[in-house]
């Protein structure tokens, strides 16, 4: 299942896909997108890699078991919600930090973004778990 064109293309496409997925992730708060779709795109990139090479190489490339990735994602999502608990506010209360990059502008960073990152990680994790283990069958 190794096609030279595909594997070469994948080598370029993979980082592009990943960048794009992160873009979609962060843009989600204001434009269509978000952690879920972003995660799917990233997962698709790795799936493509698995098709181009083989599952073993993809697993090595990932460096982390996708199951752990989804567990970590859950942990991130939950953790982002727990920050507010320590401040005496209800679970998942958004905490916002406004960073000024004068003169470029301001960047608002908040726990909901971390939450979305958690979603992103979970989606990558589970999609790859399913696809890779199906492919190994």
């Amino acid at each position: 299942m190794t096609s030279l064109i595909l594997s070469t293309a994948t080598r370029f496409l993979l980082p592009l896909f990943l960048l794009f997925s992160i873009f979609i992730l962060f843009r989600g708060h204001n434009q269509p997108g978000g952690g879920f779709v972003g995660g799917l795109i990233a997962a698709a990139a790795f799936a493509l890699h698995a098709i181009a090479y083989d599952v073993k190489r993809t697993r090595r490339l990932l460096g982390i078991d996708p199951r752990n990735l989804s567990a970590l994602g859950l942990l991130v999502a939950m953790g982002s919600g727990m920050i507010s608990l320590f401040l005496g506010e209800p679970f998942m209360t958004g905490q916002w930090l406004t960073l000024s990059f004068w003169p470029v502008g301001q960047l608002e960073i908040g726990t909901p973004l971390f939450f979305d990152v958690g979603v992103y990680l979970v989606v990558i994790g589970i999609t790859l778990t399913i696809i890779l283990s199906l492919a190994e069958e």
Binding site: N30, Q31, P32, F36, I126, I130, L134
Partner: protein
């Protein structure tokens, strides 16, 4: 359009149910898939349909904001879609295992666990 969609939803439910009443386990899961679509469309319809005014306020003048589509059903459906995907993925693999274990996709052969 709501009325039309009401019929579409009813049709989807009917088709999904009919599929589930067949003996093939594959038809069963396709039926479940149709059910999922039906439920999503139902919520979408019941939330009220709005044309070409997505609930995205980016660059939207303040007075236009009031007319955007109801975002809540959309959020609900999104959650439902994703959950449905997880369930369906699992159900698919389950059925594959079941077919392997029983040796057929005929549901009538899978009744050993009832009395």
């Amino acid at each position: 359009m709501e009325t039309l969609l009401a019929f579409v939803v009813g049709g989807l439910y009917a088709a999904g149910l009919y599929m589930m009443l067949r003996r093939s386990v594959l038809k069963l899961i396709i039926g479940l898939g149709l059910f999922g679509h039906a439920a999503n469309l139902l919520i979408f319809t019941m939330g009220g349909l709005t044309r070409a005014q997505p609930p995205i306020l980016f660059g939207l003048p303040a007075d236009a904001a009031a007319g955007v589509a109801d975002p809540l059903p959309q959020a609900l459906i999104l959650t439902a879609i994703v959950i449905g995907f997880g369930v369906q993925a699992f159900a698919l693999v389950l059925i594959r295992r079941a077919v392997q274990a029983v040796g057929t996709d005929d549901l009538d052969q899978m009744k050993a666990t009832d009395t």
